[in-house]
Symmetry: C2
Subunit: 581 residues, 2 copies
């Protein structure tokens, strides 16, 4: 080793020892008689001291080193006179008597500091420098920790990690596949997996019983902010289980991760149905760090000649605790906010429950104080609260109100990144109707089992059929989702029929799975967690980008290596493809 | 859970308990008054008993079940009268009082037994049935165990698992890349990584210090037997180290794996140089489970008018202990064996050191008994041994002798699959001359550092330059290899020059790495292990195929899912490519 210690481990106990450290020059301070250098490595930072009086030559030399020089220094650990108790090595410094410059460095294009002066583009281009920054480094270390703890838990539970193939077969269902031309099979293509779904089901048919994999998946979609063409899943499947077993197993995993990564006890996870989530939060991934549930006040508003409410399919209120003091200006601004196209409400009605017990609303013309009292009671409002009301078509109103609720939650500071409130959302609809394609789509995927008691509805009212499907939601983010699978060939064929596959299409695309089901498929089900998102959530970040070592930008480019790029004509020829002009 | 226990865990302690098991019907025996069924799951096999006398209905029903039916059975654990102490559950059986057929099964196309009647092709097509067989299942469980123990060791050593991207940039150096057309960047392609080499070096520049990843890699090569287009590596890199540190760290990992997976103490690993390996074994991946080192007897054969030896660049002998009794027929057959084109020798000379102390050779015409005695002494032969001699051009003769040595080792039973003899091979040449391309190629890869003391030779005699490169070899198989890297931009540019890259080519292909080296690259080095091969070695298998859940055949096809396959014209159009007719 070129070092005896790392830059993160020396403390008072090491005083007097001779040590050798390696690392990068973080900063240098020339104080005339002395020069201080902070030397940084993955493990921390250590202060080096060079003294003009005792060793002028080496001190002069040290003053010539630039930021990010790679140094090997040897010296004696000494107690600092000016201690910094905020850092683990803050009580000591190294009196240096030898330095080797292992490598020089150009001045980096942005500062390698907690908060850098570099914009996103330049940070991506020099990602290897960005990772030297503490927040990015810590994000990657956190990711490794989450992966390790995931494996610890699942291995203990007798899950087997099995690698499924990356070069698989293209399936038109769902998002677009990335494809790979096959040189040995001219004119044919592999596809990169959007998920190992069919393989994990085949592993259950194969008797592997409990499978998991932390695995790269691929989707060739137009990238919205914070989507990546390649992403990582914690992918799991179990046999001989019921939904309850999966919920318990992965609630256990989530608890283990929070305990061991964040040192947080999340307790038991609440469970709500999809229907309840839509009723109470207008959202199938509710943020339950705060209450502020929807209150349906339609009946309390009816018959008072307020046409907007009378004509509305739904009139929904939320109660913003302690917000009665909102000024007219603030309320106007909120009204503008809900009327933005992204939110899509046509207007906002408010009701102030003043501290003095009086009620004041924007629709006083239509509703008496007694009428408004009923609203307030329905909303469990108390003096000082503000009730906000949206009205209109049910689905649109709930969607808009969900956004408003989250916005108010944020404004009230109720969405603390250090508070974690996971829950299960259950009983998703099996199917959703696609108006464009004029057919039913699988809400989860085509292998999801309907609830046994709803199977009869498949023929008569497909939209009413609930699935044995579940999502894990944390702080308003869907981090995991899964289902109990259909393991019976007839039911699977019926599902393909409802989804508009001809028997031939179904056979061509999923034949191998349906055939496998003929040879003794066990009851099975599973779940997949979005690993990048889970890590960013643990890290308290909004973006997944810093939790991926080498992410791509919104055009799917890696600007550091400048990829994708053209390939040679010879290579194209070997692959039997041409670039269309 | 649909079960209270697995099929592998019940024993005498459970006698009298009521249990529910789930699994597959392995076999059924109708003995008239009784029917026995062996029920199998991932964890083992349990005997079920159905009695005509006590429960005729259920017994009759059980007799109708076919192989691989999926059953859920409930009953009482009872002591067997006829114990099978070879299996963990062999002392008990289940007196069944309830059976649910969870799924029926068609008769599988081959037997689901330890040794199946199915050929390779059909086993691949129905891989999900093949995995039900014990040897394949055990191979996959072993793989998971090796992965888990690898992570345990490396995590303890402070390595960070970092995922590097799968969609990267094509580089013409080395094997052919698989490519992925980019829809969002028409006419451009991603490449799938042949290894994360440049990314792991960038992670060192980024200060990650110790990196590892168990990672899929891809090579579009014509598949020889036992090569896969996608394969898995244990990929590692460390900073601020010297070669000795890498050797110790990964010798430690190998020791940990053997101890914890195989319960074998492999002791300290021998180290030999590439030059010694070629001298003693004619092979840079020697199988040292047995000695039988090469002996250069050229000087002892000279000047006796045997033109074959006199004209030969090299005359090399090995001593096959105890083989003097080989018959003339056996020796003729060996001679034919070495003359096959794959081996390429022109003939084989033998010398029998008979039990009675006499010497008998195939070249008695030219050599006296005293001459032959010298050969025998050089080979440390004792009565009963057989000396085998090949002669000719040095490199060709060593190659042929290496094959002969391995063949004799196998015939003598010296290559026991349960004996493991790892070693390090060091000091590989940095470069090898490619006669076709008329230029130097990197023997390892273009980032490998020359030994500092050999750098001067780069200008004068590039073929003599040794690299700081090392391979780990186990039982004649190269399982890992790596090197100390060049971390200095000037030396890297010089290497690219020697390898025939123009500065523009080097900049276009590796510019991002060379640029990174300008910002303070630390000294670093690493290693990669072939994970599939390592697993098959641990499992004592010759082929890697059963250590991969869903392998491809020699045409790169997955015959189970029938991939690769054609994709739609619409998809091709979106990707801006055409299939060349």
């Amino acid at each position: 080793m070129l070092r005896t210690n790392t830059c993160g481990e020396l403390n008072k106990q090491h005083i007097g020892q001779n040590v050798t450290l390696c690392g990068w020059l973080q900063r240098s301070r020339n104080l005339g008689g002395m020069t201080f250098i902070d030397l940084r490595d993955r493990y921390g930072m250590t202060q080096l001291v060079f003294n003009m009086e005792t060793n002028a030559a080496i001190c002069e030399e040290a003053r010539s080193y630039g930021r990010e020089f790679v140094l090997q220094v040897t010296g004696k650990v000494a107690e600092r006179s000016n201690k910094n108790l905020n850092m683990p090595t803050g009580e000591i410094e190294i009196i240096v008597d030898k330095v080797v410059v292992l490598n020089k460095a150009q001045t980096p294009p942005f500062t390698i500091e907690e908060n850098t002066d570099g914009g996103d583009d330049i940070r991506m281009k020099y990602r290897y420098l960005d990772i030297r920054r503490n927040p990015v480094k810590e994000a990657l270390l956190l990711r490794a920790k989450v992966a390790a703890e995931t494996r610890t838990y699942l291995n203990l539970q007798d899950f087997v990690e099995v690698e499924t193939p990356v070069l698989i077969k293209s399936t038109p269902e769902g998002a677009r596949d990335f494809v790979v031309p096959s040189r040995m099979n001219a004119g044919e293509f592999y596809a990169l997996p959007q998920s190992p779904q069919t393989f994990k089901q085949l592993l259950m048919v194969a008797g592997m019983d409990k499978y998991y994999q932390i695995v790269k998946c691929f989707r060739d979609e137009d990238l919205r902010a914070d989507r990546q063409p390649e992403f990582t899943q914690i992918d799991c499947e179990m046999s001989f289980i019921e939904q309850e077993d999966i919920l318990n197993m992965f609630e256990g995993m989530t608890r283990h991760l929070f305990q061991n990564v964040k040192n947080v006890d999340i307790g038991e996870l609440p469970r709500i149905t999809y229907a309840e989530a839509m009723r109470d939060y207008g959202n199938d991934k509710p943020d339950i760090r705060f209450e502020m549930k929807f209150v349906d006040i339609k009946s309390a508003t009816a018959g008072k000649n307020f046409k907007v409410f009378d004509d509305a399919e739904s009139v929904i209120a939320i109660c913003a605790k302690g917000c009665a003091s909102y000024t007219r200006k603030q309320l106007d601004e909120l009204t503008e906010w809900v009327k933005r196209p992204q939110i899509g409400a046509t207007g906002l009605v408010y009701l102030r429950f003043n501290e003095d017990g009086t009620l004041k609303s924007s629709v006083d013309k239509f509703y008496s104080e007694a009428d408004l009292k009923v609203w307030a009671e329905k909303c469990n409002a108390t003096p000082g609260d503000l009730i906000l009301v949206l009205a209109g078509g049910d689905s649109r109103t709930r969607k808009a109100m969900s956004e408003l609720r989250l916005e108010i939650g944020s404004r009230l500071g109720l969405r603390d990144k250090n508070v974690f409130k996971p829950l299960w959302v259950l009983d998703f609809p099996l199917l959703e109707y696609n108006d464009d394609a004029k057919r039913w789509h699988a809400m989860h995927h085509p292998f999801t089992a309907p609830k046994p008691e709803d199977i009869a509805l498949l023929e008569t009212d497909p939209g009413k059929v609930r699935a044995n499907a579940y999502d894990m939601v944390i702080n308003g983010v869907e981090v995991g989702g899964g289902s109990i699978r259909i393991f019976n060939k007839e039911l699977q064929q019926k599902m393909f029929g409802i989804l508009g596959f001809t028997p031939e299409d179904a056979q061509a695309q999923f034949g191998f799975l349906m055939n496998a089901f003929e040879f003794g498929a066990p009851p099975h089900g599973g779940i997949a967690f979005g690993f990048d998102r889970l890590c960013s959530l643990f890290g308290g970040a909004d973006s997944i980008r810093d939790y991926i070592a080498f992410p791509k930008n919104n055009s799917g480019r890696d600007v550091m290596i400048d990829s994708p790029s053209t390939i040679s004509d010879e290579h194209l020829k070997e692959l039997a493809i041409r670039v269309a002009k």
